[in-house]
């Protein structure tokens, strides 16, 4: 508990210090609970997620960083490795390939990489995985694009505080 708190505090300070160094990621610690974080990530360019801003929620276990944080998408996203309803993410570094040397920042980077390179063979979203596996890249892209527009694009006038 003490070790994880100390480590998260270090990450917090690092995030404050490095603010803006990585323009694609904005990590925000909950005001009252250092084990709850959210992040806003930009959809990578040349993907159907481009132009979208996606919100992630982090729940951090007491044994962190020996055990990985639990991360899920709060923003709807059509992606083979993200559960469409719950936002749960299938990513090896969040499971058996976790290393305690990873940080919340590097987890965000890994998730952005996953958005660029979906793994249709371990799908959490079968519809999306099947489209890709059957070679229907256009079908996948247009679905993903549609949901990006619907859920991840800042609407005019609303929620302007969430834009990066």
């Amino acid at each position: 508990m003490q070790a994880s708190r100390a480590r998260l505090f270090k990450e917090y300070k690092e995030v404050q210090r490095e603010k803006g160094v990585d323009p694609d990621i904005q990590l925000i610690c909950d005001d009252s609970n250092i084990f709850k974080w959210t992040a806003l990530i930009k959809g990578p360019s040349e993907t159907p997620y481009e132009g979208g801003v996606f919100q992630l929620a982090f729940a951090i276990p007491e044994q962190y960083p020996l055990l990985p944080p639990q991360v899920r998408f709060l923003t709807k996203i059509f992606h083979p490795n993200v559960h469409f309803k719950t936002g749960e993410i299938c990513l090896d570094i969040l499971k058996n390939a976790w290393s305690p040397a990873w940080t919340l920042q590097s987890v965000c980077r890994a998730i952005i990489a996953l958005m660029s390179h979906p793994e249709p063979d371990s799908p959490l979203n079968c519809d999306s995985g099947n489209l890709l596996r059957s070679g229907d890249v256009r079908g996948y892209r247009s679905m993903a694009r549609m949901y990006t527009k619907l859920a991840a694009m800042p609407k005019k006038g609303a929620e302007s505080s969430h834009t990066l």
């Binding site: 070790a3 100390a6 480590r7 270090k10 044994q63 960083p65 020996l66 390939a97 305690p100 040397a101």
Partner: protein
């Protein structure tokens, strides 16, 4: 993939040879002079020893395993000039095959190093006074940090936590790498011993030991509960049956209880079937049945199938078929037929429990028949096993020894024949049990095969009955009373003879069933149907034996046991079943 001995052929079963016939002829010998075969005992015993396979497995104790593992590790460490912990990582990666490690290493050392994470040139941690731990991000003096061969520094608290998390996650801890995600340098036992808690070190070395057995394709743990022995098996060496030092016999291939002569697939099917039918079968396992004569419930508390009802009834009957014992086995020389499933007999004639009558389905009846006999032999075996244990453990034999040596100065070795008889009973019950699974899956339409099989099984059942009865009941007479030396010597000769003959018979039976009764014409429907008139006498005899039970019917059974469906002929004189190719009886030299 990993296959230094895959080229061996697993199938080197002995062929069905003449010994088979000599074996069962002895049991099938005429009544009256049933101890004739004792003369041949020495012969039989020699044959059976020469036949016994050289043991194709080794039992390993905890100490043996540690020693071997240590030897393998040092050998690799010496030959490749690498650290002990590195040799250990290599061996684990190649499933503890020393030769495989050699081959791979000398074929492409760089590749192997990369795959397992052994760096050729280890880097030291940076030479600064303070370093930052890659996990907690705190700064520590250099001497309070440790790294793997890669030089990535982590503080001791973080190392301990990292190692502990991995160990509590399972045997994957044996493949531990540097925590730096980009690194991959192996973390071996030397670092565990340096950094982990005492408890974790123990756990790690247990995983390492388990891996030595579980990841090596030549070794397995004995599946008996609580047993800590392992078995090393010579792959491709034939019979899968192994017997652990804890006395549990099991199949090396499927790790079920030893099941020769039935193959692993049949066993798996049978076990599945049993669990599917277990609700229907529970009542069968109850150890009590009504006496067929007086209807009082009788409990089976002895190993053999010969049951005597309590006074005043004293009716003697067979536990398996509930038929009168006087129609069974050696007394009448009749065909022992309670092993045979006979669909007709299920109808009406039997006054068995209501439950049985409710079983309308023939298939269930059929299964019930085989299951009941399988289960009864199983419990008979358990009983014999516990009898044997109590004889070996308790003061039983010591007491007997005293008594006997007082009476007749018998040295201890002279009583070994009793233990041997019981060991044989236990083994035979096991074989017999599995012959019922064999019978259940023997195709119904292969009449000749079925008949021959049932004949062999029947003879096995009755032969074993004789041995079991002799060891269980006749022995008791000697324990209860003061018997002259001569009588005891007679008893010894009889029991030792029965043991030897039964052993031979069962060894041959196992061999015959394993080769699929290939000497018997299998699917010649035309021939078998036309023979059904002659073979019917077998069936009707068995039936008649139960309902009418006249002495005549069992006498007429003599010639009727001729197996003329197959390529055997039955001797008129001694009833021995001879191969068609012979003109004179192999047993008594009577001409055809």
């Amino acid at each position: 993939m990993d296959s230094e001995d895959d080229m061996h052929d697993a199938d080197d079963l002995d062929s069905l040879d003449d010994q088979f016939y000599s074996g069962y002829a002895a049991l099938g010998s005429d009544d009256g002079d049933e101890y004739d075969f004792v003369d041949n005992v020495s012969d039989g015993a020699e044959e059976s020893t020469s036949h016994r396979q050289q043991q194709n497995y080794t039992i390993l104790s905890d100490a043996d395993i540690r020693l071997r593992q240590e030897e393998d590790i040092s050998r690799i460490s010496t030959v490749l000039s690498i650290l002990r912990s590195e040799a250990c990582i290599l061996l684990r990666h190649y499933n503890w095959s020393v030769s495989r490690v050699h081959d791979e290493w000398f074929a492409n050392e760089d590749h192997v190093r990369k795959v397992v994470g052994l760096l050729e040139n280890s880097s030291e941690m940076q030479r600064t006074r303070e370093l930052t731990c890659g996990i907690c991000f705190e700064n520590y003096p250099r001497d309070r940090m440790t790294s793997a061969a890669c030089g990535h520094p982590f503080c001791h608290t973080c190392w301990r936590g990292y190692i502990s998390t991995s160990i509590s996650d399972g045997p994957g801890c044996l493949m531990l790498r540097c925590p730096d995600p980009s690194c991959g340098a192996a973390v071996g036992q030397d670092m565990i011993d340096l950094l982990a808690t005492h408890e974790d070190k123990e756990k790690y070395s247990r995983y390492l030991l388990r891996s030595y057995i579980e990841d090596n394709r030549k070794t397995k743990w004995c599946p008996a509960p609580g047993c800590e022995f392992a078995v090393e098996y010579i792959i491709g060496s034939g019979s899968f049956d192994v017997c652990c030092n804890c006395s549990y016999g099991f199949c090396w291939n499927c790790t079920e209880e030893a099941h020769r002569p039935v193959d692993c697939d049949t066993v798996a099917k049978w076990i599945l079937k049993n669990s599917a039918e277990s609700e229907n079968m529970n009542w069968i396992l109850a150890n009590s049945k009504p006496c067929p004569k007086c209807k009082r419930p009788i409990e089976k508390n002895q190993g053999c199938m010969h049951i005597t009802c309590t006074p005043p009834c004293k009716f003697e009957f067979c536990w398996l078929c509930l038929g009168s014992w006087s129609e069974h086995g050696e007394r009448t020389g009749g065909f022992y037929a309670c092993n045979r499933y006979d669909a007709a007999k299920q109808e009406g004639a039997y006054d068995e429990s209501e439950r049985r009558r409710e079983m309308a389905k023939n298939s269930l009846e059929r299964y019930t028949h085989y299951y009941e006999r399988w289960a009864t032999n199983q419990s008979s075996r358990q009983k014999a096993l516990s009898d044997l244990h109590s004889m070996q453990n308790e003061k039983f034999l010591l007491f007997q020894l005293e008594k006997l040596s007082d009476q007749q100065s018998q040295p201890e070795s002279q009583l070994k024949f009793i233990i041997e008889a019981w060991l044989q009973i236990v083994e035979c019950r096991r074989v017999l049990k599995w012959t019922y699974a064999y019978g259940f899956y023997l195709p119904e339409h292969e009449h000749a095969k079925r008949q021959f099989f049932e004949y062999l099984q029947g003879e096995a059942e009755s032969g074993l009955e004789r041995l079991h009865q002799c060891a269980e009941k006749e022995l008791q007479i000697y324990l209860d009373a003061q018997i002259p030396m001569n009588d005891f010597n007679d008893f010894r000769t009889k029991l030792a003879g029965l043991t030897s003959v039964t052993r031979n018979y069962f060894e041959n039976l196992v061999r015959a069933l394993e080769t699929g009764l290939k000497d018997v014409g299998s699917s010649n429907n035309q021939a078998t149907c036309s023979k059904s008139s002659s073979s019917k006498s077998l069936g009707s005899k068995a039936k008649g034996g139960k309902s009418k039970a006249t002495g005549n019917s069992s006498k007429s059974a003599g010639p009727s046991r001729s197996m003329d469906d197959s390529n055997l002929w039955s001797c008129d004189h001694c009833t021995y079943a001879n191969p068609k190719s012979t003109r004179t009886c192999q047993m008594c030299e009577h001409h055809r």
